[in-house]
Symmetry: C2
Subunit: 255 residues, 2 copies
DNA sequence: GTCATTTTTGACATACCGTCAATTTTTGGA
DNA sequence: TCCAAAAATTGACGGTATGTCAAAAATGAC
């Protein structure tokens, strides 16, 4: 929109900051009570602006949700990269990404919820095409990273593909297992009633069983895994901050 | 509430029927546009009753959602039973239940969505304790069925449990894989962009890999599996109707 | 200091939820 | 058959929220 992006007038900087502030206010609202919990009136009141001003930034509630979901996915990708790039073997890289998922889940509980909500038709359909594409692109980058590791594994001979099975299918499996497990953990009334204590451990063990089932070498080794978990966790804590980037706000306006 | 349940006055029968009618009207509304799509005004108008009458049946919108979710889970359990009871080997029973999940997913697309929605705090917290317990109980019965098959398998020596892994963990894995895969399929913008054509086939293959990873015998055999899928599908189509039971409406009133 | 442009404002139209006092219908006993 | 008590129904009402838009205020180029 602006022709000279290097010069932001004082006013324009103020506006950009407000965008961040809106998202900060919206975050807990959505996390606690979903789309309905996000009240434009409340945001306006808390920021001491008129409602119309908020609508200048985001065309509707759903836009705010997507903005947050995009930020969430950028953060997740950051964790993925940090986790994977320090590993040598393909299988360790995958495991490390699994641990990054755990880290994301625990550190950004609210964003995890928001990321789930955003995918419902109600929200998705009302948001702008532009932001939807942005989120889809973020997701793609996450998947591609994992897919690439899988391809390397297949090429290096670590992962023999059975007839009729593609690398993508296996990636999809790992993803289902991890994401699905977390969703169930979050939303099923009586999980520990049937005897699941530590969800993360169970998910991780199942991912290993899946990879073992496909003969992804080296096969599961409890000791090695324990060590890996410790290392990756420590590294993520050290190298990835808990604050959001919010770079994605760049050029999308409200009405 | 009524002391002589065997005699329902004419009026009371009429009321009970209305309950069903309400749910029928609500079903597509919720499926299409979530909680927000469910309008009490619209239901009242379409049924030619005042809004207050609808509130006599269901204390709030969320109650309607839960009622449908309960019906959905009863149907799912029916499919599970029908699928499992015709198999001899433990692993086939599990596979059959996986196929029952597919069947449920395709036949009752709307109920699958509703079952997901119901688990969000917003909905869950507003519904009555009574109905929540009812739904939780339904879910328990589904899980117990699968858990039982797992235990039998372990006892019979078909499934050797590695140190630190319980039957429940494996059940949880299969469940995550199936449910998670379907959720992703439903809600992720570009799944086939990364090359997943037939989601069900992928999920099924991954479940087998998981079981192979745990050495659940007999190990995966493509031909045998193909035959099983055909049989179970046919049997489900033949023996399980597509209409809801709605027995669960029994005794829960509105306000 | 002036004026065109951008930004802000908040009253308004609309929509929906859930309530409840008043009204109508049903029931069951005399 | 009739009547009074119980049950069911009604719909106007209070409350809350969204998204709009014409008018008012702030900005900044000259």
């Amino acid at each position: 929109m602006s022709i000279a992006p290097e010069t932001l007038s004082r006013k324009q900087v103020e506006i950009r900051c407000r965008e961040v502030k809106i998202l900060e206010l919206a975050r807990p609202m959505i996390a606690q009570r979903g789309l309905a919990g996000l009240s434009m009136d409340a945001i306006a009141k808390q920021m001491d602006y008129a409602k119309g001003t908020i609508y200048n930034h985001f065309g509707c509630k759903e836009e705010i949700m997507l903005a947050l979901a995009i930020a969430a996915n950028e953060k997740r990708l950051e964790l993925f990269h940090c986790a994977a790039e320090r590993q040598q073997q393909s299988r360790d890289k995958i495991s490390a990404i699994g641990i990054a998922c755990e880290e994301f889940r625990t550190r950004f509980d609210d964003l995890f919820r928001i990321d789930c909500l955003v995918r419902h038709t109600v929200v998705w359909d009302k948001a702008s095409e532009q932001r939807r594409e942005m989120l889809a692109a973020c997701e793609q980058r996450c998947m591609q990273l994992v897919g690439q590791i899988g391809s390397e594994a297949a090429q290096a001979g670590d992962l023999p593909l059975p007839r009729g099975v593609k690398v993508e299918d296996i990636v999809f499996g790992l993803w289902s297992l991890t994401y699905g497990g977390m969703i169930i953990d979050q939303s099923s009334p009586g999980l520990d009633l049937i005897g699941i204590r530590n969800t993360f451990t169970a998910i991780r063990r199942n991912c290993h069983a899946l990879m073992d089932g496909y003969n992804w070498t080296p096969l599961y080794d409890p000791e090695a895994d324990k060590k890996l978990v410790r290392n990756v966790r420590a590294s993520l804590k050290r190298n990835v901050s808990s604050s959001l980037t919010l770079q994605s706000l760049q050029d999308i306006g409200g009405r």
